[in-house]
């Protein structure tokens, strides 16, 4: 399989996010390089998850949400005229805060759910092969290969989250978004996911939101720090740089204060 050119560059230009009249995130401009892991950190309510959701237009699920500005993946604006959010989401996969396998589907059907949606007819051989490849890609194959027909909800939390990652990569997205993927997991499962993120980097552009600064330091190449000036004010991107730099020698005082645990 040609995976080599699947990861894409993301350019965000002057992005503003609103929920009705509420200005949630202000003036974000950044470039996310292909085959890197980018982490967003910041205090609760700073808009980092909201911002992540605009990268696959999932914020539109909430009525009244809208954006101004531009998000381009390899030059194609996601918010351009006539771009269907459904198509965007097929190219930009997402993993959520809490594992959410479909409870009515078996492990295998969960992995194949996205592919079946794309209404491709799969021969049973191709389905088996894709399920195995995706589960291997999510480091879950060895744990579930003997019980592929059991419900996805029979797995542990960490396994469920890796199942969700397998489901997301089964449709071969260009970008993988993760919204605090480990916040509901124990340390061992967290480690397994972090290892997996490191491996996914070789094939995908990964963007992760995390509450855990050590996690950002461990898994990411680049880190963006989001903050808000006061409650009710829009969140903004304070600093975006190499992870090393953010954690060792940040340019902004606010970043340093947050990293060193003085607030947040």
């Amino acid at each position: 399989m040609e995976k080599s050119d699947m990861s894409k560059r993301i350019d965000i230009n002057d992005l503003n996010i609103f929920y009705g009249a509420f200005h949630a995130v202000k003036d974000v401009t950044m470039a996310i390089e292909p085959k890197t892991v980018t982490a967003f950190i910041g205090p609760s309510g700073c808009g980092k998850s909201t911002f992540l959701r605009t990268l696959n237009r999932m914020h539109e699920v909430i009525p009244g949400a809208r954006v101004e500005g531009e998000v381009s993946i390899d030059g194609r604006n996601l918010y351009g005229r006539g771009v269907d959010p459904v198509d965007v989401r097929r190219e930009v996969g997402m993993v959520f805060q809490r594992p959410n396998p479909f409870p009515t589907m078996s492990i295998k059907e969960n992995v194949l759910a996205g592919v079946r949606l794309n209404s491709k007819r799969l021969s049973s051989g191709a389905a088996d092969e894709l399920a195995e490849r995706s589960l291997r890609g999510a480091n879950l194959w060895n744990e579930v290969k003997d019980r592929l027909d059991k419900p996805g909800s029979s797995l542990s939390g960490g396994q469920q989250q890796r199942l969700c990652i397998a489901r997301a990569i089964a449709v071969q997205p260009q970008v993988l978004l993760m919204d605090e993927p480990c916040s509901a997991l124990d340390p061992i499962s967290t480690l397994a996911i972090e290892d997996l993120i490191n491996e996914l980097k070789s094939d995908y552009t990964v963007v992760i939101v995390t509450h855990n600064m050590q996690q950002a330091a461990r898994v990411s190449d680049r880190t963006g720090f989001f903050n808000l000036e006061a409650t009710g004010q829009p969140g903004q991107l304070v600093e975006f740089d190499d992870t090393q730099r953010i954690f060792n020698n940040p340019a902004q005082q606010a970043t340093e204060d947050y990293i060193s645990g003085r607030f947040g």
């Binding site: 699920v61 009515t104 949606l117 449709v171």
Partner: protein, 312 residues
Amino acid sequence: MSETITRAPRRSGPARRVGDVVFSGTSRASALLILVILAGVAIFLTVEALPVFTSGSADITGGEGFFSYVWPLVAGTVIASIIAMVVATPIAVGIALFVSHYASRRIGQTIGFVVDLLAAVPSVVFGMWGMQVFAPKLVPFFGWLEDNLGFLPFFADGSATGRTLLTAALVLAVMILPIITSVSREVFVQTPRLHEEAALALGATKWEMIRTAVIPFGTPGVIGGTMLGLGRALGETMAVAIILSPGPFTWNLIGTGNKTIPSEIALNFPEAAGLRLSELIAAGLVLFALTLAVNLIARWIVDRRSEFSGAN
């Protein structure tokens, strides 16, 4: 705080609090009460029906024994109820999905209210409407069925009044629509947002999201609602008694004929005595068993998939 706990008098086992004892006692009593009532009904039906099974078959209405008497009633009841269920369920699920996932909040609430209002219409009113208004309106439709599908035994000979089993079944469908709709709506609304978002994030369209997340999650509830509706259709008395002009069993759904158990009981009970009374009560026992079987089957269908229900 911890001091208070250690100082509390310790008996063997955990402390018994008055509130807990009272609550567990009353809830246990309620649970027992339902069993007692059910057993009481079953015993009454069985005891009162007993003469039917001990007397000679020539004494039973029709002169050929209880089974010959009751099977046309069972057939009429089951056929009418199944038609009602088959007609009502897809419409109810459609309304429920519209209200829960497509309509704006205001329109959804209005439709929900109207559907609930439908449940408040007394069955006798449905019966009168069915006989006076709906049945005559169906006569041309029956004529069409006869002309085009007359080769099927179900549509052999159209009735001139329209007061047929199919009419009764369609009115039953209207009557059970609210219960199926409101139960379905209730479960569709409860679909976890996480599952809906999971589907959307995979690139599902709205309908695909509903198909992958909402409907599978709601299926046990829809089955439950359908069975409640079926139960109501099986037991519906007044509307059927008014609409249907009763007669012997016939496969012809659009012609005169057929009876259902509840309407047979209602129409004959006031003047029945002796063995005839026992016959009717025995028919009631059969209906009771039928409804019980329907509920058990529904339970079985729901349980069969419980591993995948998301409750674990």
